[in-house]
């Protein structure tokens, strides 16, 4: 394929999220002369970004000092923090954990904020190309250095043959490639494996976050109220909880986050979220309203002990492509922005990978993650142990001479033969939309040309009908929030059916599948969800 177009840049950034855009903006501020390109698989910047989100504003103050005079479209100062424990019928108020004090922080839509950041970046001279998906990394001839990425082809049919209008993807090469794909990025995953970047750290551990943005009847919302809950509808062995942020214009952002180290193979994260919404105290707020947009995304929860090396020859990992979310704070945007800015400051001196990992590990961001390192792993032993452990770690400020380990999420499922841990949810009592996962996908406005190769590659579909069916009863049909995986019977034979057009790019399947035979790859550029203000 010698006729493939090649485009060259000084720095290529894969992913237009907070980390990637902060890298780009900072780099142009410091080195006007560098050609900086950002690509993103979404049709427009922000369309595939999903986060709670409450943001600490300090990194933005540093990156764009005048930003408060020209703010992103959704920016609601936090006025009140509330924390409670739910049972099926009641709600018990609890003291707000100190890490979750949001005084001075803002409720934002990370999607809208990224679209706004992209405008700032373009003004600074960054070239941003949404709609182009990085399908694989490119290496030098010796194969020991990253030299860019290949953009996926467009116009290939399901069987892999070129259709009319087939367009070969270009190669983008750069002196330095910055991977800012977010949690479990597909190129990052390949590179972490190739360079063994995770050889000296714990396995990464993840969560799945589901979110809906609601327009509710006038007068109910108290803008600036931030609420979090623990407890119902989760059993105590499953880590997770809800967030509910009240915005202006009668809008409410709410969602549910569940640790992907949950053990019950029959558990359905999506159902837990929907069940939560129908709690009497939540339903009263939403009833009569409509969903503006909804979606899901895996998040990184492993903290500093699971953080891979952030550099490799020719490339850096920034933001959650490395995994810098602060779990007790339930925030990652400030960490993403900071790691991007740090990467830019490093690259502005010299276009080399060498030294970035050390720079980051010596920073206040690393210290922030170090301090809270033992809180998330404490919940492996259940919610009550986790809470007591969290209290001890908070009081001792992470100074106890110990670091609890993380475990790989895909190894945590119990067999179906063991008794169930999570309760059976009765969906018939629910009255709020969406009624099921397919209805939810509708609000994600996800779109994939159906006549393209399936981007969810299952390497051995035999396992699905044999071992997996027997051992775990095909958990992919339940953990996927978009109903992508179905076991269907045709002519008396059960088979895995992959409804890849429903995919919302959350990457949960790539993480939780117990045999690690699902590989999430990028579909055609522009395909995927089109979120509105998530």
């Amino acid at each position: 394929m010698s006729d493939r177009d090649v485009i060259e840049f000084d720095v290529l950034i894969v992913g237009a999220g907070p980390a990637g855009l902060a890298t780009a903006i900072r780099l142009k501020q410091l080195r006007e002369d560098l050609n900086v390109c950002v690509i993103d698989k979404a049709s427009t910047v922000g369309a595939q970004i999903l986060s709670g989100a409450v943001m600490e504003p300090e990194p933005l103050d540093e990156l764009l000092p005048g930003w408060r005079d020209n703010p992103p479209p959704i920016l609601q100062p936090v006025l009140k923090d509330e924390f409670s424990f739910l049972t099926e019928k009641s709600r018990y108020w609890m003291p707000n954990p100190p890490q979750m004090n949001n005084h001075g922080n803002f409720i934002i839509s990370l999607g809208a904020t990224c679209a706004w950041l992209a405008e700032q970046a373009e003004e600074a001279g960054v070239e941003i190309y949404p709609g182009f998906a990085a399908s694989e990394p490119l290496f030098n001839e010796a194969g020991d250095q990253v030299i860019g990425v290949r953009i996926g082809d467009m116009g290939i049919d399901k069987q892999g043959n070129p259709k009319d209008g087939f367009m070969q993807g270009v190669d983008i090469t750069a002196q330095m490639t910055v991977l800012a794909e977010g949690c479990r990025g597909s190129v990052s995953k390949a590179l972490i494996a190739k360079f063994g970047l995770d050889a000296d750290c714990d396995p990464q551990t993840y969560g799945i976050g589901m979110k809906e943005l609601w327009q509710v009847p006038k007068g109910r919302v108290k803008p600036g109220t931030v609420q979090h809950t623990l407890g119902w509808p989760l059993d105590t062995s499953t880590y997770g909880g809800s967030f509910l942020y009240q915005l202006d214009e009668d809008r409410v952002a709410l969602g549910f986050v569940i640790g992907l180290d949950y053990q019950d193979p029959e558990f359905e994260p999506f159902e837990a979220f929907q069940q939560f919404k129908n709690h009497p105290s939540i339903k009263a707020l939403l009833e009569g309203g409509t969903i503006i947009s909804s979606g899901a995304r895996a998040i990184v929860e492993g903290g500093i002990q699971s953080l891979p090396k952030l550099e490799m020859p020719g490339a850096l990992l920034v933001g959650d492509a490395g995994g810098k979310l602060n779990v007790p704070k339930i925030k990652g945007t400030h960490m993403a922005l900071r790691s991007g800015m740090m990467a830019a400051e490093h690259l502005a001196k010299e276009l080399t990978h060498s030294g970035y990992d050390q720079l980051w590990r010596g920073s206040s961001s690393a210290a922030e993650l170090h301090k809270v390192r033992n809180i998330r792993p404490g919940f492996q032993k259940g919610m009550w142990f986790g809470l007591v452990n969290a209290a001890i770690e908070t009081v001792t400020m992470g100074k106890l001479p110990r670091t609890l380990s993380n475990h790989p999420d895909h190894e945590q499922l119990r067999k179906v033969s063991e008794p169930r841990l999570s309760p059976q949810y009765d969906s018939s009592k629910r009255s709020l939309e969406p009624r099921d996962r397919l209805a939810s996908v509708y609000f994600a406005a996800t779109e994939h040309d159906e006549d393209q190769p399936v981007h969810l590659q299952v390497t051995d579909t035999n396992i699905c009908v044999t071992r997996c069916k027997e051992e775990y009863n095909n958990p992919c049909t339940r953990f996927c929030p978009a109903n992508v995986y179905e076991m269907v019977e045709t002519d008396g034979e059960t088979q895995l059916q992959i409804n890849s057009a429903n995919c919302v790019h959350c990457k949960t399947c790539d993480i939780k599948d117990p045999y690690q035979i699902i590989n999430w790859t990028t579909p055609e550029g522009s395909a995927g969800p089109n979120y509105v203000n998530l």
Partner: protein
């Protein structure tokens, strides 16, 4: 031959349309916007005509807010030669759009105006017809096939009764339908080149067009939601429920 193609920035077809709570229109904040799909087909057709050597220059025009330039850039990346952006901040009606398009067409001396049959936001389906009337030139609407020979164009139109074949003299206005072609993907290198192509920004005033207010929007509202159904256990119950609603006689 010189072709003018009109394109409009609209809410993307994948997006679920929501009406603003105050009923003044539909929500566009934070919503994905794209080129009207029928206009994309018009651009593709112009490109194919040019690739056959039957056209020398393709000019794309868009009327709308500043962001309309994103859609003009897309058309330039597909292969159009240059763009004209008529900057207006308020909603304009088809008659004003038609006058603006015609003004540019006349000053550029184009032989063909290609437009989408309608925009998917307001579904007016008026602009092509109005441009042709104001210009006093022939029109062929809903074209699904075009062929050019010596100053004439043969257009196959998709009409209710089937297909109608028209031959019209150039200059003419043609509005295109869905089945005319399949628009190409935009290449990244072309996207980069498109940034260097010119877009002239003009106001309605520059074009000598006054924005008329012949139509006033009284309000926009969403269709009524469907009532939830009920489940019945027996035929007797079904009959009873239908009778209660006055749908069958006692």
């Amino acid at each position: 031959m010189k072709i003018l193609v009109g394109i409009k920035r609209v809410v993307d077809y994948n997006v679920r349309i929501r009406v603003k709570p105050d009923g003044s229109g539909v929500v566009t904040d934070g919503v994905k916007m794209s080129m009207n799909p029928f206009d994309e087909i018009a651009v593709e057709e112009a490109l194919q005509i040019k690739e056959r050597g039957e056209c020398d220059e393709i000019i794309v025009i868009s009327i709308g807010a500043k962001q309309s330039q994103e859609q003009l850039r897309t058309a330039l990346a597909m292969g159009a030669d240059r763009g004209v952006h008529v900057l207006v901040d308020e909603q304009i009606e088809p008659l004003t759009a038609s006058k603006a398009i015609l003004s540019v067409a006349q000053s550029e001396g184009v032989d063909l105006i290609l437009l989408g049959k309608q925009a998917i936001d307001d579904d007016n389906n008026q602009t092509a017809q109005m441009v042709a009337a104001l210009w006093d030139r022939p029109q062929a609407t809903f074209a699904s096939e075009l062929a050019f020979t010596d100053g004439k164009v043969t257009a196959v139109r998709e009409v209710d009764a089937g297909l109608e074949v028209l031959e019209v003299d150039l200059p003419a206005v043609i509005s295109v339908d869905l089945r005319l072609n399949e628009p190409r993907y935009v290449k990244l290198p072309d996207m980069m080149k498109a940034k260097k192509k010119t877009i002239d920004v003009k106001s309605l005033e520059d074009l000598g067009v006054t924005s008329g207010a012949g139509v006033t929007s009284l309000g926009v509202r969403a269709p009524e939601g469907r009532q939830a159904g009920i489940k019945v256990e027996t035929v007797e119950e079904l009959v009873k429920e239908l009778q209660a609603r006055g749908l069958v006689n006692d």
